[in-house]
């Protein structure tokens, strides 16, 4: 049996017990403008940001940026642009021609421009990857400093599937030239509200 033989071999060969270190968060503490740094980092990874206290007409702003989007899925209560509705019965393959998905982000991470989204926010797991473009709606009060804080904030979640997403899909596999839009979303716009 592989299991027993592997575990036995480990027992025999492992070094003496070494304690698990504590993470001292004071080492990483910084006093920075979270919204500002988040925005800069998101832009540096190819994402776009719309941030203003004056977003009155969110849907209008989205339409302005994605005027050609026809097949739209919205999983956010703050947008009424949906042309297609989905449920957990929806077959992921049927989302192939979705132009735009609108999803609520739970939190943003200033140090890397990533947002955390989980299955609750987008219902069908394939959605944020298969949609051509992605709009994420993030509250400015939900931006934390770094990944340590982020893991703390999501520690109580119902664990099914979730991800940190930082900007649009990209690759540099052809001669190190950065190309936006590999296999996932071609663009990501985060609306900070």
């Amino acid at each position: 049996m592989s299991r027993a033989s592997i575990l036995n071999a480990i027992k025999k060969n492992k070094p003496e017990s070494v304690p698990l270190p504590e993470i001292d968060l004071s080492l990483f503490q910084e006093d920075i403008d979270l919204v500002d740094i988040f925005s800069k980092n998101l832009e540096s990874v190819g994402g776009r940001i719309v941030s203003s206290n004056t977003i009155e007409d969110l849907d209008g702003e989205i339409k302005k940026r994605y005027p050609n989007a026809k097949h739209i899925v919205s999983c956010s209560n703050t947008s009424q642009l949906a042309t297609i509705s989905i449920s957990n019965e929806t077959q992921p393959h049927s989302l192939e021609s979705i132009d735009l998905a609108i999803i609520d982000a739970q939190l943003g991470v200033a140090e890397n421009g990533a947002v955390w989204i989980s299955e609750n926010n987008f219902i069908v797991r394939a959605l944020p990857f298969i949609a051509n473009d992605l709009v994420l709606i993030l509250s400015k009060n939900a931006i934390c400093l770094h990944m340590h804080d982020a893991y703390n904030l999501i520690s109580k979640r119902d664990r099914t599937f979730g991800l940190f997403l930082s900007g649009p899909s990209k690759t540099a596999d052809i001669e190190q030239c950065l190309v936006i839009g590999a296999q996932g979303a071609m663009s990501v716009t985060v609306f900070i509200v």
């Binding site: 592989s2 299991r3 033989s5 592997i6 575990l7 071999a9 480990i10 027992k11 060969n13 492992k14 070094p15 070494v18 698990l20 270190p21 993470i23 001292d24 080492l27 990483f28 503490q29 910084e30 980092n41 540096s44 990874v45 992921p92 393959h93 192939e96 890397n112 421009g113 069908v124 797991r125 394939a126 990857f129 298969i130 770094h146 990944m147 340590h148 893991y151 520690s155 664990r159 099914t160 599937f161 991800l163 940190f164 997403l165 930082s166 649009p168 899909s169 990209k170 690759t171 540099a172 596999d173 052809i174 001669e175 190190q176 030239c177 190309v179 839009g181 590999a182 296999q183 996932g184």
Partner: protein
């Protein structure tokens, strides 16, 4: 063929070697920039190293804990002692689900196990979906770098390859066009595949979940469309708690490409209703490496590739010259553990400059381990005469400080006065294709003495 001979082949095309060298150095510089913006970067590296040391010392317990928690969440766990067992388990799962075509995202472990040829021999089509991996798969080559699999290919070569296999029109290697064509080609495969295989970047004992990192989104496109998700992981991928991901995800992408984090860091804990999720936990020589005191910390590697990007030998000899799944400095420690005869020349493919150890996010003492392997290999394996004599002389010289001073002087003398034909001779592989450095007259000691007097 020893590494030096393989490197010679790569060096036939000087322009390409120069490009390769520069491209990787550029990535190394991006890594530096990214690291310097993080407050507490060195503390992060220390933490990562200490967490990994704890993991190795409790590896069996963590694996059991991981298994238990994953099973509670409806994930199937399999154990594979070696590559063959791994491949067979995957094949069985695919057979049971009547799978004809499978999409695979990047996984060095499946490369190590030679999964693709195994499945293909059993009539199953395997499509690598990372763009770089798809390129080398179409070219029928192995990846030459663990993060940048096709870094050895020019855009013109990719152009020709895509014309042949994807029916693209000639574009002089336009990366935008070629990537877009690959996107269409791969999308079709994602929609048709019955199963998806991924690697595992981190597996969390505390939760039974695992994390897969990509920039392209190819792993997620595969697994969320297919009915079956199979994830292969080496036993060393375990970390104790979810909060430790905070440490590792801060280090990984910055060390790899200079990005602050990969585009997608996907956390899998439960399969979707009605779908299957499998994890295969693989040994394949790792427990043996765990037993080697001097080399066990090589298992802490998180596969960022930074040691390759910074290595002067790797940059000028190319990943294929190592003839191993994991090339570069870390590969040169891991591979001799798998097959000392075959990979015995690799620990010598290093200047021991230590740059690899300096950039390693989990602080593996890579260059010291390379040195350790040399000690073992020079005892156990017959060495080509040059290396042996050089090492002998070096040993004697280093043991005697007067001789050391003399040899230092005479080496400088020889570099200055011997004709190039002698320096760049058959016995000195490193003199080939390069001129030796301009020699300053004084060494530091002479200069210092003079200044003092």
């Amino acid at each position: 063929m020893p590494h030096a001979k393989e490197a010679e082949l790569f060096n036939n095309d000087e322009a390409k070697v120069n490009w390769h060298d520069q491209a990787l150095w550029f990535v190394r510089n991006k890594r530096d920039k990214a690291a310097h913006t993080v407050k507490g970067w060195e503390e992060l590296r220390n933490l990562a190293s200490a967490i990994k040391a704890n993991v190795l010392s409790n590896l069996d317990d963590y694996l059991i804990q991981f298994e238990e928690n994953a099973q509670k969440n409806g994930i199937h766990i399999h154990w594979a002692a070696d590559a063959e067992a791994h491949n067979k388990i995957i094949h069985d799962i695919l057979l049971k689900n009547n799978v004809k075509m499978v999409v695979k995202s990047k996984s060095m472990l499946t490369e190590e196990c030679h999964l693709n040829p195994y499945l293909e021999a059993h009539g199953i089509e395997v499509i690598d979906t990372d763009l770089g991996e798809r390129i080398v798969q179409l070219a029928k080559e192995p990846p030459s770098h663990i993060v940048l699999p096709a870094i050895h290919k020019t855009k013109e070569e990719v152009d020709v390859l895509f014309q042949k296999h994807l029916g693209t029109i000639p574009s002089n290697g336009d990366p935008q066009y070629l990537t877009n064509e690959a996107r269409k080609h791969l999308r079709d495969k994602f929609l048709k595949a019955d199963a998806a295989i991924t690697g595992v970047n981190f597996a969390i004992a505390e939760t039974g979940g695992f994390v897969v990192c990509t920039n392209e989104g190819n792993a997620d496109m595969g697994v969320h469309l297919a009915k079956v998700h199979i994830a292969s992981m080496g036993i060393e991928k375990i970390i104790p708690q979810e909060k430790h991901l905070g440490v590792f995800l801060r280090l990984l992408a910055r060390s790899a490409t200079g990005q602050p984090i990969t585009t997608y860091s996907s956390h899998f804990n439960k399969p979707t209703e009605g779908k299957e999720m499998h994890i295969i936990i693989v040994d394949n020589g790792r427990t043996e490496q765990l037993g080697r005191e001097h080399f066990r910390s090589s298992l802490n590697c998180i596969r960022c590739g930074a040691c390759m990007n910074t290595c002067p030998i790797y940059r000028r000899s190319g990943g294929h010259s190592y003839k191993a799944t994991i090339p570069g400095p870390i590969g040169s420690i891991l591979s001799p553990g798998m097959d000392l005869k075959k990979h015995g020349s690799l620990p010598f493919a290093s200047t021991l400059c230590g740059s690899c150890s300096d950039v390693c996010p989990v602080k593996i003492n890579i260059h010291e381990q390379l040195y350790q392997w040399r000690q073992i290999i020079t005892k156990d394996v017959k060495q080509p005469i040059v290396k042996k004599t050089v090492l002998k002389i070096a040993g004697r010289v280093l043991a005697n400080s007067k001789l050391y001073g003399f040899f230092g002087k005479s080496a400088r003398f020889m570099l200055k006065h011997l004709p190039k034909s002698v320096i760049n001779s058959q016995t000195n592989t490193w003199g080939k294709a390069r001129d030796l450095p301009k020699v300053e007259n004084e060494n530091f000691e002479d200069w210092y003495k003079k200044r003092k007097s």
